[in-house]
């Protein structure tokens, strides 16, 4: 009986729905180097037995559809950001094997800073850099790695150093950093070179399995279509023209990572309790789980910069956390620290929150007239609007919302600090909605405000809000 010696890797899907249901050919052009590298990576994943814990980060470029081929975890990353995404996965999923697969436009062009910093941090990830010296997907424009004299759509006369600079050698740049453990450039110019590429790819992945650190493999790869050659000519051109500019070979292969203290570093990672301690939160003091929301709170707080709009939003979100609820806080503000317009979006829910954006709030707190004008129409019917009537001189026009007109700036001014006006609004909101309790608010305020006298003033602002609510909001 014959035995199968080489066959399609298990880590590749049986069919590739990109082309059509049931299709089993790639979307790559004939003779493209991507398929060869995909095969080599998939084989290495198979042989290392890491398919179930591999997360493949695809770039933008021809290989954008990595997720149609690799039967692993997949994330398609924003252009050039795959190393940043991979770093995030690394930090949160200790056992994951994270592959960043990028082309030259993605890695050496738009993503240059991401790759340099990920390498410099020595993230335990593996980066495969496919260098074909041209922008493939967009139709053959000059890449950072295009060699001098090479004709592309955007360098029809060939690349000139004085106009377009020199081709960038990525392994040389990465080699200037201390943290990486493995740096090699390989080529797909011929069968023997492909076998060397295979070894480098396997080593780069094995390093990650062994938690050694950052491994970088640059693969010189043919792009027959954009080079305007046959696949065979392209491999020859690669050997004769790219390899002299980008010499192949290993630049670094360390037996272990540069961080001797990796384990200690891990031990020194802060526990949740430690973080709470540093933030001055006493867990016993917060009474989680007592609040029952009628509905998810989508809150917009808006006003001038300097009115405490953003910090009141943080205060509300922190109170929600203290109540054991899920919350998000998203600020929006101009370049001015004071006097510009600012608003904060806060979501509070029992459930996990999908998006921090609040386009149509059911709670609006406005600190001035322009904010009332801007957001009144956005409030959902049945929602509530809390107006700082000291500055927003008109009444709420809508009849399908509940409006509270509170002279908050005047009240705060009487107390001695006009900046606490937003806390008065927040207090009234807390009492009306029941989303957070006054008790929690009082406990969280000292954690948000450092200066003792301001804490006292804000406590007085809370009392003023409670009094206003008692006098102006009839009990149901």
């Amino acid at each position: 009986m014959h035995t199968i010696k080489h066959q399609k890797a298990r880590s590749l899907y049986p069919t590739f729905e990109r082309k059509a249901p049931g299709a089993d050919v790639s979307h790559y052009c004939p003779g493209c180097g991507h398929g060869t590298v995909h095969n080599l990576i998939a084989e290495a994943i198979d042989d290392l037995g890491i398919q179930d814990r591999t997360i493949f980060c695809s770039p933008v470029g021809c290989s954008v559809f990595g997720y149609y081929y690799f039967d692993t975890g997949n994330i398609q990353c924003a252009h050039g950001r795959a190393p940043a995404v991979a770093s995030a996965i690394r930090r949160t999923h200790e056992e994951a094997i994270v592959i960043s697969y990028q082309g030259d436009g993605d890695l050496a062009g738009i993503g240059m800073s991401q790759i340099v910093h990920a390498a410099n941090r020595g993230e335990n990830i593996t980066v495969f850099f496919i260098n074909n010296a041209i922008y493939g997907m967009t139709g053959g424009q000059m890449a950072p790695t295009t060699i001098l004299g090479q004709k592309t759509v955007t360098t029809p006369d060939g690349r000139h150093a004085e106009n377009e600079g020199f081709p960038i050698g990525m392994v040389e740049i990465i080699n200037s950093l201390q943290a990486p453990v493995f740096i090699e450039r390989v080529s797909l110019a011929g069968a023997k070179k492909v076998m060397k590429a295979r070894m480098a790819i396997r080593k780069a992945l094995r390093n990650q399995v062994e938690k050694k650190g950052f491994s970088f493999v640059e693969i010189l790869s043919p792009c027959p279509v954009n080079w305007k050659m046959t696949a065979v000519e392209a491999r020859r051109w690669l050997e004769n023209n790219l390899e002299p500019v980008f010499p192949v070979g290993n630049l670094r292969d360390l037996p272990k990572g540069p961080f001797d203290k990796v384990d200690k570093k891990k031990d020194s990672r802060m526990s949740d309790r430690k973080i709470l301690e540093i933030l001055g939160v006493n867990e016993e003091e917060v009474h989680a789980g007592t609040v029952q929301l009628q509905e998810e709170q989508n809150v917009k707080i808006a006003g001038f910069g300097g009115q405490g709009v953003l910090s009141t939003g943080i205060l509300l979100a922190n109170c929600a956390i203290a109540e054991g609820l899920k919350t998000t806080w998203l600020p929006s503000y101009g370049a001015e620290m004071r006097g510009g317009t600012a608003n904060a979006s806060i979501n509070i829910s029992h459930e996990t929150i999908g998006s921090p954006i609040v386009s149509y709030p059911n709670v609006l707190m406005v600190m001035n007239l322009p904010s009332l004008d801007a957001f009144e129409d956005k409030v959902r019917p049945g929602g509530a609007i809390y107006v700082n009537s000291s500055l927003a001189t008109r009444k709420v026009r809508r009849a399908d919302v509940t409006a509270y007109h509170i002279p908050a700036s005047d009240m705060a001014n009487d107390l001695g600090t006009i900046q606490s006006a937003s806390v008065i609004l927040l207090t009234v909101y807390a009492l009306v909605s029941g989303a957070i309790t006054i008790e929690t608010l009082k406990k969280v305020i000292p954690l948000s405000i450092k200066r003792k006298n301001l804490v006292d003033l804000n406590m007085q602002a809370i009392e003023a809000g409670v009094t206003w609510h008692r006098d102006n909001c009839p009990k149901p």
Partner: protein, 78 residues
């Protein structure tokens, strides 16, 4: 000698795009481009000369997925 006693490769005609990278990769010149055209419109490669040593060079060079499968002859005594 019968096929049973030799290494060979199988080219899946539906998957091959006829780039000929395997033909250059093969150390023994076993592969050629045929005259038939597949559904994608490519003249696909085919195993032609039975001098295969099952080295896998064609397999590793091929940019398609599973277009080439390499079979090794039975070992002596197996």
């Amino acid at each position: 000698m019968s096929l049973e006693e030799k290494n060979f490769i199988e080219v899946n005609p539906k998957r091959c795009k006829g780039c000929a990278a395997c033909i250059v990769a093969c150390p023994n010149g076993c592969i050629e481009i045929g005259s038939e055209i597949n559904q994608m419109g490519y003249q696909f490669a085919r195993f032609a000369v039975r001098k295969c040593i099952a080295c896998g060079m064609c397999f590793y060079t091929c940019p398609e997925f599973g277009a080439i499968t390499v079979y090794q002859k039975p070992r002596k005594g197996a």
